[in-house]
Structures are given as C-alpha cells and as structure tokens.
Amino acid sequence: MPNVGLRVFVTKELRDLKSSPQVWPGYLILPLLGVVLPVVFLALAPLDLARAADPDLVSLMRFAARDPWLARYPEAERLPRLVVRDFGAFFLLMPVMLSALAAALAIAAEKQQRTLEPILATPLSDQEFVLAKLAAVLVPAIAVTWIAAGGFVVAVAVVTAIRYRITMVPGAAFWVSLVALAPVGGAAAALLGMRVSIKARDVQGAVQTASLWVIPAGIALVATLGRVAVRHLLGSAIAVLVALLVAAWLYRGTLRRFQREEILTRLG
C-alpha cells in the first residue's frame, strides 16, 4: 500500500512538532488571542455608543454605519456585530501563521539533525515526502484553528447574550471560510514555507526567511481573500476557489523544486 509510508511519516512528524520549541508556543498563544481579544472587546465596549468619546470607537462606528449589512441593525448592535463578523478572519490567518513556520522548519530541521539522507535513501517518493510534510504541519494547525474558532463562537455568543441580550454568532460565510478557506490557505502558506525549507541550510535561516516574507505574504493573501470571505457567502466561495488555484500552483512548484540531489548537495 503506497500510502503506508505517508501515514507513518505523518505520525512521526506530529510527534516531532510537539517538542519543537520554535513552533508549539504559537499553538497556545494564537488560539488564546482568538478567543480572549473579541471577548474583552465585547465585554468592555460602552453600551451607549452614541455618547462614546474615544475617537477610534467613533471612527469604527462611522465605518459600521457605511456597511450595508450592518446598517440594517440598530446602532447599538452594529459594533458587536462588526466584531463578531470581521474577527472571524483571524481564524483564517491562524493556520497561515502556524503552518508556514512549521513547514519552514520541516526540511531544514531534518537537514540539521542529519536525518534527511537516510529518509531520502528509502523508496519514499518525492510526492509522498512533500505530502507527508504538508499533512504534518497542516493537520495540527487546522485542528487548533477549528478548536479556537469553536471557542470564539461560544464565547461571543455568551458575552453578547449577557451584555446585549441578543445571541450573536457568525454567519454562514464564516463557517464556509473556516471549513474550506482555512485549510486551503494554510496549505498554500505551508507550501511556501516548505520551499524556504528546501533552500535553507539551517533552522535559523529557515525561520528568519519564513518570518520575513512567507508569513507576511500568506497574511496578505488570506487577509485580502478573508475580508471578502467572512462577509458574503459568494465571496467565501470565490475566495476558496482562488486559494485552491494558488495552493495547486504552489504544490506543483514545490514538487518541482524538491530535488533530492540539490538538497543533499546543500547538506554537504
């Protein structure tokens, strides 16, 4: 069975990830921010927004008033609804940040630990290797994102029910984005990270390159698509399609760049 190797390799990768000090703190901090930040904002924002003096809050209110979807709601509900809707985009960025960094380490760490050559000397195909690395960084990133998003939905529902007497939860576009766009966006970022890892000579170089351009590029891509995706169902469908095309293009490119010979030659 050709995918037996893939499954075992993924299991090994997940275990490695658990003890990687460069990666796992992100798996704790980002979900925490995703749940705590909107809750704190909703809990502390003034209820009587018409009298709000904070200039940032006032400008946010003006923005909400211009949004056709928010404009349908009473003024007091606009700000919490804006937070509940737009903060959902954070959960599209989370897998990008988590998987890009983990993927940047994926091959570079093996080079540094000198475990790469024995693996490359097995019958494992290039495709299996890349897919295993991709799955290994994507599975935990998506799992953590979905758990945190679940926490976010429950937390904002509880806070808005208590404070505004209305239970506010994200709409269908958020759920479509979370289920489809988050994994595809994460995969695209992971593939970019993997390209960095293929070229990198050591872990530090890989982390630096990923932090300097892979994560910002991934964030820019998902933020552009995510803004549209979390607001409209059609927007989320288009965003998923665009992200899929980008991910497929990156996958083909990564496979092309995965040259055992070049990797080993760089290894020395």
């Binding site: 069975m1 037996v4 190797g5 499954r7 075992v8 390799f9 090994k12 275990r15 490695d16 003890s19 630990q113 000198r114 475990t115 790469l116 050559e117 024995p118 693996i119 490359l120 000397a121 097995t122 019958p123 494992l124 195909s125 290039d126 055992r260 010979e261 080993l264 030659t265």
Partner: protein, 309 residues
Amino acid sequence: MIEADGLTRRFGERVAVDDVSFRLEPGQLCALLGPNGAGKTTIIRMLLGLVGPSAGGATVAGIRIPGTPAGMASLRARVGLLTETPGLYDRLSALENLTLFGRLYRLSGSDLSGRIERELRRLDLWDRRDDPAGTFSKGMKQRLAIARAIFHDPDVVFLDEPTAGLDPEASRDVRQLIGTLKRAGRTIIVCSHNLAEAAALADVVAVMKQRLIAFGPVETLGGSGQGVRCRLVAVDPPERLGGVIAAAAPIGGLARVGNSFEFTVRDPVRALPAIVAAVVAAGVGVVEVRPLERSLEEIYLSLVGADHA
C-alpha cells in the same frame, strides 16, 4: 552486484568523481578508501540513485542508473545505507525508528516486527527497544543505525564508517555482522579511514581521489606500478655488497640496515635468484631473501601520495 561504468560527477567547474569504473560481484566486500573530499560520498550517492551522474552510468542490484524516478525508488528499496552520522530520530524509540523505516520500505505486520526483533537482538539493543534513541550512547546509536541499514535485507549495502564511535568489542561484533552479510551474498561497500579494519574486511580495495587510483585485492595493490620491496639478510656483509646487489639486477631504493639490505625490484621472480647468486659468488652467506609484505596503510599512503605528487 554493482557495475560502475565511467561514473563522472561535476559540480559546476569542480569534478567530484572522474570516470570511475569497477565491478563487484554478489558477496564481495569493497573497502572504499580515499582522503576527505575524494568523492567517496558522491559516488555512493550516485550508486544509490540520489545524485545523478554527469556522465557514465552504473547498474546496482540489476537496476540501471540513471533511470526513471520509479526505477530509482525500486533501487532504493534494494539497498541499505549507513550514513556517516547515525541520523536517527532522537525522540522516537529504537523500535519506532525501525518501524518507521520498515514501513517506508513497505514492510508490515509480523514480517516487520520479526525483522526488527531479529536485528535489535543481534545488535544487543532489544532490552532498550522502548527507550528514545536520543538517550543512547554513541555506540548504541551506531548499532541502531546499522540495524536500520540492513533489516530490510537489501541486496547491496553501503556502510560509511560502520565502526566509528564503537568500543573494541562492539567493533568486533559489527565486523562479524558485516562478515555474515557478505556470506549471505550481499554486495557491500564500506567507506573507512580505518585501514587495518578495511584490510581485514575487504575482498577488494578501491582507492579514490576523484578518480579510481587503484582497485583490486589488497595483495595485488602493493605491486601496482611501484615494484616489490624486498629484503636480503646476509652474514657479515662487507661494505661493497650494496654494489654487488645493484649490479646483479635492476633495483631501486637500496637501503642498508645492519646486516639487511632493502631494495625494490620490478620482477622479483627473475631478480631475486640473480641477486642471491651474485651475493653468494661474492663469498657472502645469505640468511634470507624475501619480498616484504606492505600494510594497506603503506600502500594507501604511497598511492595517495604518488597521486598528489
């Protein structure tokens, strides 16, 4: 079986391996020797299908190099590799390390577990099978890496410094294991800087320095192009005996140490009787005359040094 045919590898302007050809039969063990940077690792990577040749080719375990990606995957399934550093996953146990690689070699079930137990017991690691490889001593890691290189019963095995870091007892056990593999018909290439070990293990020795400087059994390497070093021990030899020896046959490098004369001859079968006859005719008794056996180290250094010059 391994047959290399004009294997060449260039990295830009630099030639790492230059026109290397040799043939190894099943059950033959070749010690691949050469200074650092001589191209040993590159040639092994080429024979594994990991690095493509710039020119020439090879057949390893019946599979042609260069070949298709599927062909190279089949090749890698039939060879075993021990790299210079063990390259183990430190967070995985010995059992998990071998299970991972076993699955990558498409082994499963009782076949896989049986092979793992056999090798871990043979290499005295069975009692530590559940401990993370990172907690092992250097020697234990090396033994585990050897188990990983051979437990899928490859036809061809490449071992880079197999006894590095091992204590004498463990080194002996590894040498015995390599002997067992050889008797089982595996073709083995051992890279080593331990020339005594290479001489003890190898059927043939290959000396590399980008190109193949010498290839053959140890006993044939000493005479290649250099002549054979011989020693004659005489009874109370007079000062003039050196001249007598030199006049009797074409010799080189004549040196006297006490009653002994050492010299190099190209054809000892013809030259030594002529020299003995001349010495006896000069009225000097001969205690012994014989070709000197050169150690692999002497042969290696003369070959590498001569190539350098």
